[in-house]
Amino acid sequence: MLSRSLPSRLLWCLLWCLAAGAVAPVQAAETRLPGSERDLFLGEAFYYAGQERFFDAISRLDAELLQYHRVDERDRDPLHIHAGLAHFSVGDFELSYRMHNKAGRAIAAVLEGNVRQSVRNEAAYRLARIYYEKGDHENALLTIERIDGALPERVRDDERLLRAQIYIVNDRHADAVEVLRRLERVPGYEGFAGYNMGVALIQQGDERRGLAQLDRAGQIRVRGHDPAALAIRDKANLVLGFHLLQGERPEEAAQYLNRVRLEGPFSNRALLGSGWSGVAQARFDRTLVPWSILYQRNPTDKAVQESLLGVPYAYANLDMHGRAALLYGEALEAFDRELDRLHASIQSIRDGHFFRAMVREEIRLDSNWLVRLRELPESPETWYLMELMASNDFQTLLKNYLDLEDMRQRQTAWLTDLDAYEDVIARRRDYYAPLLPGIDARFRVLDSMIRLRMEQRQSLDDRLQRLLVAPDPKMLMTADERLLLLQLDRIEDEYRSDQSATGEEVRRRVARLRGRALWDIETAYPQRLTDAFDNLRELDQHVQRLDEIYAGYVRTRQAATQSYQGYDERIRNARARIRQDQDRVAQAMKGLEHMLERMAIAELEARRDRLEQYRVRARFAMAESYDRAVKAQQQALIGEGAP
């Protein structure tokens, strides 16, 4: 009977579905750059990436890389030491930001990243993981097989687990088993490896070994209180139990289902299965034990809802028809309440409350946001959607929706920023524009004076350089000496034709004085040349200071102009692009909202339809139980009245 009710195709789906969830969390990477010459801006990108703020990490690193590619002397930019890592990282961050377009940098980073093989392998591992989670099994396989050589130790075992899971979904069960064998004894992975190996073996057709493997995975010793390890142990027992129920081995099934913890995430399903094993053995007293526990639990849970019918069904089979009828009545009331809540939840989603709750900032800041979400009073529907929300499809859509919401908020802020920039620019223009013409006029006068002095300085330098090659003492005469020689020339001319004794005496004295003056000029020449060079050097110091002031002025002048000129078009273009993208973001958000809404409503409607079927069956069953109870009572009365 149960074998007809549990088609094998669905059971395998269950195995797959559960296997897909058995992935250990990824640890954050160490991103410390070696050496004191590390690039601060690359470090800044790692700072954002370390907080999973990948949008900021990518755009900051992109800005830095653009600047790096613009400079002529890249060797002087500290980024050149880590340029390969920077290019890889920007692709790697895109990968983490779920931008794995085929032509994108994320793929390039994996395929040809100029980084250590182990780092590239880690990126390939994460890309494969994204493909796997998005259900792209073929690309997941292609990517994981690109891993060549060593991986960082902290992800080595996670990679093996993922590799095995990818092999399983690609029907390479033997390969999966081989990989999992290496993982079976790794602390912390025993349960994951054992469980997945059991799944792989069963799917491979080796049911005996697969079941034995699941049996072992269902008994692993868990150190401390590791919720993931405890959950995978429960999962192994649950799958094993249902497999045995399907194989019409209910007594053995109960043994495994009873191993599942009463407080774990699989507890309700295990209790339900355990009850069904009692039904299959026609041991309704045994059935009542697990189902009575389940009956007391939250009625929004599907297993609990089923127990609302199951418990009276068991009582009816124990010929306690009166109690069964009462419990069917209680079940009807519970189903009515649940149906009302489901109707309200469907309406709430249609009214947009679900999305408003999902994009609340304080919810998203909490790593456990999915659980927090269901605590919100305005979103009771999330109680019903927990399982759907944990599915990969829903998660992909939801993460995209949240990313778009983040971008939408940024775009709004950017438009405000651009308005503020324009205001700053207008104020600067109002301040500088009237001042600059006057400053420029004064600067032009000073500039021509500076140029003249610079030419004079150059002329002096040229002359001194020539004296080094061809010494010429007269070039370094003092003004007095020059005047003296001119005076002597004049006197000499005056007495040139005077043949008197006075004339003779004047010419003799002029000759003596000229000789004396020339002697001084000749003998002082080396010292004068040295002094001239010293003076030139001193002048050069003043010239250098002048140059600095000049360059400082030019920079300031340029900065003043640049503070308000050349931005208009950039701002106009940026604003137009933002507005254009705002429309695209809004459109994509609508598409995602519609898709998420359809998924959520489809889930709720499926629950509603099932509950409506339950309600119909409960009504019939209640009527039947009343009839039987009344008949039993009548027979008892007849029995009592009989002679």
Binding site: L40, F46, D62, W276, T396, L397, N400, M595, R610
Partner: protein, 169 residues
């Protein structure tokens, strides 16, 4: 009763397979198409973000006056960091209270840009106060020169005998 049992049996199966039925109607191609569309949008919005970062830098913090202060943690640092206060030339310019995620990101090698502002060229006095739990407080100062280009100073937190050191970049 057997009908009921069969119905419940099927329901049991559905109960353990909650998502498959709901997702069955939805086209995976449509999900994939939307995913690719979102990736394209991300690419464009990131490009605008980069452009705006550059615009902000040239407009608000031109290289001739720019000063940026970065905070990093030395390898193996066990410093418990709550917050940092910064004064430049005697003026309080910024303070930051750290979240656990921020501290962890720095421990793994991330570098936080704590402050970007504008200063005249010349000698500058930087004073940093690092705060930690149980009243821990460490104050350190540093002089640096602001030239024609941007001034970058890295504040390294190590938690050892010299908990705060500075590197001019």
């Amino acid at each position: 009763m057997k009908d009921l049992l069969r119905a419940l049996g099927l329901a049991l199966c559905l109960a353990v397979l909650p998502t498959l039925a709901a997702a069955a109607d939805l086209s995976r191609d449509r999900i994939k198409g939307l995913d690719e569309q979102v990736q394209d949008i991300k690419q464009d919005v990131l490009a605008i973000s980069t452009e705006l970062l550059q615009l902000e830098e040239t407009l608000i913090f031109p290289s001739s006056t720019q000063v940026s202060l970065f905070v990093s943690m030395a390898e193996g640092s066990r410093l418990q960091l709550d917050g940092v206060d910064v004064r430049l030339n005697g003026q309080a310019v910024t303070h930051h209270v750290y979240t656990h995620r921020e501290v962890e990101a720095m421990r793994r090698g991330g570098v936080q840009r704590l402050y970007t502002g504008n200063l005249r060229s010349g000698e500058q006095e930087l004073e940093v106060t690092v705060r930690g739990p149980e009243g821990f407080q460490e104050r350190a100062s540093h002089r640096f020169s602001k030239g024609a280009g941007p001034a970058l100073v890295e504040i390294v937190l190590s938690g050892g005998s010299a908990p705060v050191t500075f590197i001019d970049r």
